[in-house]
Symmetry: C2
Subunit: 623 residues, 2 copies
């Protein structure tokens, strides 16, 4: 858990991690505060999303027994669906808190986080973020007198660029399109570089904790060297006469840092480097600072940010990508504004906003959620048409080259994240082509020894249950039973001596709570259950504990069609039944792993040579 540097990607599969209170406190909160405070070029958004998702996961497993934080009423959430919903709502709340963007948080969870969505979830996520917004607003209100450090400053809108009379016309559109196209290319270069660097970091981090710390120290020291060294090469600029701010300043605040300059002069590069990321963004976004920065300083700042934001994530501390990309994009936008801005009405601050949008779109490939987040960050509704245009173009340009950054990171981490769309070659395969054996089947009344043997030798989480009726010649598919339920049966030892169903209902021995979804790492293992030799020779009636109506597909169904079913309904197991009955009534079980492109291409390597690859590079995947 401690090395899950890139928190956001982890959240999509947070349900599969072990979210303990300790993990949250130690890792995300402390780690991220340290990372941001040590002036590493990392953000706070993704760790906050991670924290939110972890809190959701803890509630979904009924609290934490270890820390005695359990509530009775949390028990109702102990199932797959509610846990998934809670994690989604938690990540929405995290995003809402990080950027003070409640609606953006909901849409972020919808567009990027959740792999399964239902209409009820929209309303619940909205409820969560509304509470976040109201609490945030109340806290800001309580901190108005400046007793909470920097928290109360800035109000609800983080990078306010409101200006009532923004005007732009048709001739301003070509420079914006240029900015968006280059932004898309830069975004995919960023993704490509970050992907490579994270792969290298992964190799280093796997060698042990010492290597991790050394790597983090190296990055931290080189960052500090760059930040303190680079401002020396920038020239000093005379203080503007028409500003209300003090110039030059020494200390934490102020837009005009003195640094090495003579009195009456300031160093523009130092003003950018010696601020928090948030202040740097505010500075870059503000409108009356066209003359504040020099071309060369901005170029150096952009290059440094780009470099640092590729090297900083992935080290031991939890790191967000959002804020670094916004800073880099703002610098990029300012640069474009400086070179082509003379032809337009837009000031450099607006170019910086559009540059951030372009780099975010080119790297993260979201549309609606990014649009609303930028809107909520800057409160500039009049710029909306241009922001939408920029996001569209940069996303489209980026999609031509590679995948979005979250998918790349999940690939590195090996999370089996299932895309919502089917790859073209999946249409040429049937479900039967990817089912791999051997299939383990249980009978309706099964020998205890068999169950124990199968559970010990396989890692499957679901098993088909088949009956052999007396009247029919062919066996009948009775349903699907889960590993966790089998273990509970073995644990309670409700066994039969002979393979005949008991008159009374065996399920009366159990309560619904026995079959509630366990917290991860809290479920019983098959190895923990001790059974005597006599017990192993006994039988157990699986009928009352079997899901008698699992989702099934026929073996001739196209893989693409089955994938849609699997994703849209949010399944974990999909039974494959034969076209012609008479043989065994079930051909196999499909799980998420069976739909992963990697697995399929391993089974059918000839697909790699097929035209789908070429197609992929020719057409942007408009999803």
């Amino acid at each position: 858990m401690l090395d899950s540097g890139l928190s956001t990607s982890g959240c999509k599969t947070c349900a599969n991690n072990i979210p303990t209170v300790a993990c949250i406190i130690l890792h995300s909160i402390v780690g991220n505060i340290c990372a941001v405070a040590s002036s590493l070029n990392v953000g706070k958004a993704s760790p906050m999303v991670h924290i939110g998702a972890c809190i959701g996961a803890i509630m979904g497993q009924g609290g934490s027994k270890k820390f005695r934080l359990t509530w009775k009423w949390l028990q109702v959430f102990k199932n797959d669906r509610d846990r998934r919903d809670l994690i989604t709502c938690g990540s929405a709340a995290g995003m809402a808190a990080a950027f003070r963007a409640p609606v953006g948080g909901v849409l972020f969870a919808l567009e990027e986080m959740a792999s399964w969505w239902r209409s009820a979830l929209l309303w619940r996520a909205f409820f969560t973020t509304a509470i976040v917004a109201i609490v945030l607003r109340a806290l800001i209100d309580a901190c108005l007198r400046g007793e909470c450090g920097l928290f109360g400053k800035g109000g609800l809108i983080m990078y306010d660029v409101t200006s009532a009379n923004i005007s732009y016309h048709l001739r301003d559109v070509p420079p914006v399109i240029l900015l968006a196209v280059i932004g898309g290319i830069l975004g995919s270069i960023y993704n490509h570089l970050l992907n490579k660097i994270l792969q290298i970091y992964k190799l280093v981090n796997e060698k042990g904790i010492a290597y991790k710390v050394i790597l983090a120290c190296c990055i931290s020291i080189s960052t500090s060297c760059l930040l303190f060294g680079l401002p020396w090469i920038a020239s000093c600029r005379p203080c503007p006469s028409n500003t209300s701010e003090p110039c030059p300043t020494i200390g934490r605040s102020g837009n005009y840092k003195k640094f090495q300059c003579p009195p009456g002069h300031y160093s523009d590069l130092a003003s950018l480097f010696f601020n928090t990321n948030d202040d740097a963004i505010k500075n870059l976004f503000s409108k009356d600072t066209d003359a504040e920065f020099h071309h060369s300083s901005m170029l150096i700042f952009f290059a440094t940010c780009f470099l640092l934001s590729t090297f900083s994530p992935g080290i031991v501390a939890p790191a967000g990508l959002f804020v670094p990309v916004i800073v880099t994009g703002a610098a990029y936008g300012r640069l474009v504004g400086m070179y082509v801005g003379f032809a337009t009405n837009l000031n450099h601050g607006l170019f910086a906003v559009l540059g951030s949008a372009a780099l975010l779109g080119g790297s993260m490939r979201m549309t609606v959620s990014l649009c609303v987040i930028i809107l909520e960050l800057t409160d500039n509704l009049l710029l909306l048409p241009l922001i939408m245009l920029v996001l569209l173009i940069s996303k489209t340009v980026g999609d031509v080259f590679d995948e979005d950054i979250y998918n790349l990171i999940m690939n590195i981490k090996g999370f089996p994240y299932l895309e919502a769309y089917a790859e073209p070659y999946m249409r040429q395969l049937t479900v039967g082509d990817v089912v791999t054996g051997p299939l383990q089947i249980f009978h309706g009344i099964e020998k205890v020894g068999n169950i124990v043997h199968v559970l010990k030798t396989t890692k499957h989480n679901g098993f088909p249950v088949v009956d052999e009726p007396l009247l029919s010649s062919s066996p009948v598919l009775f349903g699907l039973i889960l590993r966790a339920h089998l273990i509970m049966l073995l644990k309670k030892k409700s066994f039969l001596i002979t393979p005949a169903p008991l008159g009374s209902d065996a399920s009366l021995q159990f309560s619904a709570d026995d079959f509630a979804k366990k917290g991860l790492g809290h479920g019983d293992q098959i190895g923990d259950i001790k059974l005597s030799k006599e017990e192993l020779e006994m039988f157990v009636d699986l009928h009352p504990f079997t899901n008698t109506s699992p989702h099934t597909v026929v073996e001739t169904m196209s893989l693409a069609k089955a994938l849609i079913l699997f994703r849209e309904v949010g399944l974990r197991h999909l039974l494959v039944i034969p076209k012609v009955s008479g043989r065994v009534p079930v051909v196999g079980i499909l799980t998420r792993h069976d739909f992963m492109p990697k697995h399929i291409l391993n089974l059918h390597p000839q697909l790699l040579q097929n035209r789908w690859r070429r197609l992929r590079f020719k057409l942007p995947r408009l999803r």
Copy 2:
């Protein structure tokens, strides 16, 4: 088509209507312009959504042959999925254009319009509304010199209430909660009244065109009488001295209408009634008008708006509900502000915004989309936490009493709209309980006469195809064939003389275009196909034209589970297979109608007496 008064509800099932160019031009555009111009209290949003959806539907059927508006490249959209996507994007565009709210349009389509959503659609809808925003912005730019009437005025933000220094504190929250609770109750009263009135109007409208016109005239005349009569009972108020606007005025524009008042005085009620809805909303939302209106005038205005907005929709002209609800809500909010506003920091204009949100939330029951639409209409980001709070409360309060307005209207119209959630009693039923016979089955090689007979005597759109293999004792489910494809087979007359499959592939006679989805009303009917007696005795091989992997469920599956599958995957037919094979391999077909609560309660009337009804009224359905 001409009597589909409430356009928005129609759009959800627009694919099932016949959208011709004529329909759009005659009905929605001209009709709505006339209705709004005749000072009926109706809006323009829903008709614009309708127009957008119709344009999408026309593109989805390859243009209009009648008006010679066809393009070759539109043929690729001739299938269910693309047509549905186009209609969704069209309605998003309509909403975006009506309120100049591009992001709100996307979310409106997501939350209220589409019954089936996929991630690709989010991006396509965003693309559509981005184009709308850019074109709108360009047109506003071109109209800056005032050559386009009222269009260029107001810019991109329709009801601008930006104020940089809104401040509200914890003690402002209780009045806002009160406003939201009453707003939710008012919203559900509105829904209830409108539902009743629309049912009465439906009876009147069914009697003939003369009755329709008389009804419309009555409503129009009484509206005019009210609008001109009521201002007489309001008292005159002296003009404020500190205003920059002319007072009093006579004519179209101006906030202070003279009406019957002496010089130096204005009539506040006339100022509200004698404006367009948009100007009235702007007036009510603006912040420095706390003293402009009198309590009694506002109460009269609110009551009149509430009354007119329940009586005006449903007559022959297409009418939107959004704008009337916003006006009524704004008046309601002002009223609350007048009575309890002395205890808060919020001015009456902000109360009006919150009142609109409360009534919209209480009537339409959307969350995220309403929030973004209000944000885009008013450009007041600082108010967001309060707006979210109001929407949450009013929606929750409203949901306790009745359904949202669009569902009520769709019930009246009899559209088989399938909710995304399962009613509680559906969990107690199995799929087998709702399947109704008799089931029509075709054999793999079927006699032409049989097909013609079945197509003529039933209205089913899909039929299972069953094979009787030589080797197996029991028949095998081969797949599902559609009515449209059967008709195409009969039309092309690719028949066999004996019931033996042809050596060559019969499908070679057909092109993919033959099986493309036809425009509605353009498909062939079985009655149009003339077949000789000899041909009726021949056979047709259905195998090449059958969908060999339809989605199936086992007959013991819970109805709720099957509903989720049906809705999430977006099916039209769901085959029910028996638990124990050996008998017929298919038990029945489920279509949308089989999942409708009305149909199920007809089959199982005892469910009505069960506790689900009581449950329904006890718990708000948090969806």
